[in-house]
Amino acid sequence: MSTPFYVSPQQAMADRAEYARKGIARGRSLVVLQYADGIVFVGENPSRALHKFSEIYDRIGFAAAGKYNEYENLRIGGVRYADLRGYTYDRDDVTARGLANVYAQTLGTIFSSAGEKPYEVELVVAEVGETPDGDQIYRLPHDGSIVDEHGSVAVGGNAELISNYLDQEHREGMSLAEGLKLAVKALSRESNGTQREIPAERLEVAVLDRTRPQARKFKRIVGRQLSRLLEVDGASTEAESSTEGSDEE
């Protein structure tokens, strides 16, 4: 009978982390950032049916990079947690912080239990507040830690590159169109420094809009509305310059 090789706990954990990170890096990146009226989720997603972003509760949204079946599992768990909590107590008692804690527990347990393979996912849980100060964004890496983010956050393959760029460019009080354009610009940066084109139909965009009159603030932005928003910036500056031009004439 052969004795199993001794692997130090540090090495075992490092291997697991490496495994999870590689899995996440294979997926496409996504960006979550604050704008004046809420929080916008932007990602590249060729599929129309398999969403990366989703509504969890009235003010809470969910974004995930990595393996679809794993984060879908976590998403449904989150919806259940939130709905059960809201039904038992009150709609106001469902918070992003509570949800992020549950996710952290789940991910942490799975990551450190020797029997299971670690989840190859990285999550973002965001809650839109009454004012921009009340917005909360939590990033949950594969190992179950929680990072409290402000302004903007990127997860997935090129996350580091993208978030560096976002940290430089993002400022408070951007309009939705500005925020969206910035996010797309950040997503289209390649690691070798070049830019590539992401067409509107490959983008998945959703917002948590605090100005929505309904209790449920989550909304997907698709089709015409999306292309209009993407054009707005370029077109409006062009339009402005052309109207200015015509004024001068």
Partner: protein
Amino acid sequence: MDFLSEHQPEMLPGNRRLPPTQGVIEAPHGTTIVAVTFPGGVVLAGDRRATMGNVIAQRDIEKVFPADEYSAVGIAGTAGLAVEMVKLFQLELEHFEKVEGAQLSLEGKANRLSTMIRSNLGMAMQGLAVVPLFAGYDVDREKGRIFSYDVTGGRSEEHGYAATGSGSIFARGAMKKLFRDDLTEEQATTLVVQALYDAADDDSATGGPDVARRIYPIVTVITEDGFRRLTEDESSEIARSILERRLEQPDGPRAALL
């Protein structure tokens, strides 16, 4: 709901054990709910009274709730149970929508409510019945539809108009004479308030418009734009104009004899 019944069954209305009781339990009861379809949508309205035996338990109870963006429930019967049922129903529709990424069909929603009423049958036998009226805009067929229920969960689709609750007989009589196929939204909202007025006229458990306290019926409209509840100003406007006409004609508008 399946998840809940597996994990916390005591939270579901149907799974509670009832203590043995003698006779009828006294609990607040909601009374009359009416609904009318019109081309382009449906109107659902309810009076504001809850009674407990011969006592008025509450003057300003709300008995019409949005179920989701395109449907609403009006409840008659034991108020406490009914409100809980609606809460669970709203939760289930929202939960389904979030998990599946698509809305249930209107038929699906109506069937779901039917199951929930059936699960309350034990309580209904002890006098704690809940009999809702479900109305919604069918996005696929592009029209408003109404579903009525009995205590056993039996579901039937109503065409044109429907009523439930203690004053429903009188409300239905009024609507029968006033209903037409080509009502506008405005006419439909007036019609339901007329029907509630007639119900309150003849049924002691139904409350009419209370001008002194500014309590007016709740009127909701569901069209392709979604659910909308008339503001207090709008519903008081309707109620007042009806009251004014009734000062001259206490029995309301007359239908032609032939």
